[in-house]
């Protein structure tokens, strides 16, 4: 590509490197200024030559979509929100079947997890002082808005039953005054509402992550809710085994085992339904490690529950393992999504594949790229 007579004075060029099709990611793309060649004009040619390192199937390997600014507090919220929702149902079940200790611990777990989870959620906002702006509208098209209202309603009823529980524990020392009969009278409706809203609180987060352009979450749309309720279920069982005596936790143990089965099955079904590039973040790197450990801990917790659930210490250890498994699942799924946007191929390749599939099926009128 000789252009000017001065080219003869330039030093010889190294071989041009090209990426083979299907080869792995190219390395570091950002280069510091000193690697861009010297400042004397005669060698500036090297800048242009070097660019051919970059493959043309993306724009310098930069992300196409952006990850949301969600960090660890959101994973904590996903975990605690699920735990709160599950414990809400468990508490109502314990009340209906006459298990007073399980009822009390489950209600307090629900209230505590919800409180900490809500704080985590608010903490992760860009403007935490404006968190009440979430309540200025209800938008069905926004899972975040719907979820906020589920969270708010669940919080209200959990507050009522939690206050009743604390009032009982302290021998009616909460200064409710003349409102006491009213509050205690609201226990049954509040408990039923808690059982009705709890599963939605555990489940809506699947739509919250699925309703995005983040490749790994978007590809998991059909399975995220199932995965999250399973994870919430095993965490609920685990928390009950940790906090309540074995004489009352048989339903919690059954629930924990069912949750583990659902968790393992739905994670595998979700990965199997994805494009390999979309599933990769769930299997590799830090999120992959977390999800592998989540599965190991969940299975270990289930085995411990089945074999030694009637033994208080074994039940407590199994319960702790299940709680850790649920937390790791949420961290793993969140981080896998954040990781998946970093490589533009995870966006571009599945999109090209689905576009080609539609064209092969004869649908040629819905492409964003057109001629004339």
């Amino acid at each position: 590509m000789s252009i000017t007579p001065l080219d003869a004075d330039r030093p010889p060029e190294g071989p041009r490197r090209r990426r083979r099709p299907g080869a792995g990611r190219t390395g570091r793309r950002r280069r510091s200024i000193d690697r861009l060649g010297s400042t004397d004009g005669g060698r500036e040619q090297a800048v242009v030559e070097d660019i051919t390192i970059d493959p043309y199937d993306s724009y310098y390997g930069r992300p196409v979509v952006k990850a949301p600014p969600w960090r660890a507090p959101i994973a904590v919220y996903l975990f605690l929100g699920g735990l709160a929702g599950g414990s809400g149902i468990l508490a109502t079940g314990a009340r209906l079947t006459g298990r007073p200790v399980l009822r009390r611990t489950a209600r307090l777990t629900a209230l505590g997890a919800l409180g900490v989870g809500t704080v985590a959620l608010i903490e992760d906002l860009g403007r935490p002082e404006r968190f009440l702006n979430m309540m200025r509208t209800l938008k069905i098209s926004s899972p975040m808005s719907v979820g906020t209202w589920i969270l708010g309603s669940f919080g209200a009823v959990s507050g009522v039953v939690g206050a009743i529980e604390v009032d009982r524990m302290t021998g009616e020392r909460i200064p409710l005054g003349p409102l006491r009969p009213l509050v205690h009278g609201a226990e049954t409706p509040a408990a039923l509402a808690q059982a009705a809203l709890g599963p939605l609180l555990a489940s809506y987060t699947g739509a919250l992550l699925g309703d995005t352009a983040v490749p790994t979450w978007a590809a998991g749309r059909k399975h995220l809710s199932a995965l999250f309720v399973s994870s919430a279920t095993l965490a609920t069982g685990g928390a009950a085994m940790l906090t309540a005596p074995v004489s009352e936790t048989r339903p919690a143990r059954l629930l924990a085992v069912a949750g583990v089965a659902g968790d393992v099955a739905s994670l595998h079904a979700m990965k199997a339904s994805m494009h390999p590039l979309e599933a990769e973040p769930l299997e590799t790197g830090r999120p992959g490690t977390m999800l592998r450990w989540a599965e190991r801990l969940a299975v270990a917790g289930a085995v411990g529950t089945v074999l030694g659930g009637r033994h208080r210490a074994v039940a407590a250890v199994s319960g702790a393992a299940l709680l850790a498994a649920s937390a790791l699942t949420r961290f793993g799924v969140l981080e896998a999504g954040l990781e998946s946007v970093k490589d533009p191929r995870r966006v571009i390749e599945p999109q090209k594949a689905r576009l080609a599939a539609r064209r092969d099926a004869g649908i040629t009128d819905d492409s964003i790229t057109t001629v004339g």
Partner: protein
């Protein structure tokens, strides 16, 4: 809910009535010279803070990187050799084969057409050996905008011009919109993003809230055009009524094909695509992913009803499992 946008356009469907024309951009990248005047005009008009640490990115003349909270216009630079130019021409020709309007035979390059030359486009064609793609990217102002659909506070709204605008005094920075944009445009203005190594005295406006191109809403309401299109020296960025722009974009792509530039194609002009068509239409000279644009963007809320169904099924399953556990735990 903008998903319901009908033929009258997104503004009408959002309650503005049908008397206001939808406006937008047509960015013709075939005449962009990469001067970045649009980037500068946008930054100045909107008082957007400095982005990054002034690092040289090693990506041709692009040291901006990408669209973001503080960068609402971004000029992409791509350098290509012969192989890639031919591949782009081939992929553009294939689009014509997909039931699109046919264009005439391609005249050989460098050969003078016969007959009267007065009506011939005299634009010098790109050389076969090398070309420089430059494209000024911007918010697409989608017909079905993911960011707007998922915003829980109502901070993002559809303006009377059909554009999508964030009210930074309402936004609480939840970040949902960032994940919902299939083009990676909107971003939260975080401390991490704006704390440049270059110390500046100015305060960062609207910190912690989501920010993106407003189509210069403040200029539109007083009858001005956006800062970027007003400043563009080659009319690569054109502002106007959306329908007229799409018509002229289609004329332009046909003209380019007739000149043998079969690599030309439109991006965002199809109202049947995954986002219902975009308010900012582009004429590209290669596949969209070469410019960092998604090849098949879909608004995530398109599948939201199915997602809500899954939420309901999962929740019912959880309730049923708990009920069964209590029944089974009776013994």
């Amino acid at each position: 809910m903008s998903l319901l946008a009908g033929p009258a356009g997104p503004a009408a469907a959002s309650g503005w009535g049908g008397d206001q024309q939808r406006v937008g951009f047509f960015t013709d990248t075939s005449i962009c010279i990469g001067c970045k005047a649009c980037e500068v005009a946008c930054k100045e008009w909107n008082r957007n803070p400095v982005d990054g640490d002034l690092e040289i990115l090693g990506s041709s003349y692009d040291n901006t990187g990408a669209l973001g909270a503080n960068t609402w216009r971004h000029v992409a630079f791509v350098e290509q050799g012969r192989e890639r130019i031919e591949a782009a021409q081939e992929s553009g020709r294939k689009l014509v084969g997909l039931g699109m309007p046919t264009v005439g035979p391609r005249p050989p390059r460098g050969q003078t057409p016969d007959g009267d030359l007065s009506g011939t486009d005299r634009t010098p064609p790109n050389t076969q050996e090398f070309r420089w793609l430059m494209s000024s990217d911007v918010c697409k102002h989608c017909t079905n905008a993911g960011c707007l659909d998922v915003c829980p506070t109502g901070a993002i709204f559809r303006s009377e011009f059909g554009s999508v605008v964030v009210q930074s005094d309402v936004c609480n920075g939840c970040g949902t919109c960032v994940a919902a944009c299939p083009f990676g445009v909107i971003e939260r203005r975080d401390d991490g993003t704006v704390s440049a190594k270059v110390e500046r005295d100015e305060d960062v406006p609207h910190a912690g809230t989501a920010n993106k191109c407003t189509l210069c809403y403040d200029r539109l309401v007083v009858g001005e055009q956006p800062a970027c299109s007003a400043t563009c020296p080659t009319q690569s960025i054109r502002f106007g009524e959306h329908d007229e722009l799409v018509d002229s974009a289609e004329d332009r792509v046909r003209a380019l094909h007739e000149q043998g530039m079969t690599e030309a194609r439109l991006y965002g002009a199809n109202p049947k695509d995954g986002v219902g068509g975009t308010g900012s239409v582009f004429l590209l000279l290669d596949e969209p992913e070469v410019y960092g644009l998604p090849p098949d963007p879909q608004v995530p809320t398109k599948e939201l009803p199915q997602m809500y169904a899954r939420v309901g099924i999962a929740a019912a399953g959880m309730l049923a499992a708990t009920a069964l556990a209590f029944l089974g735990g009776r013994r």
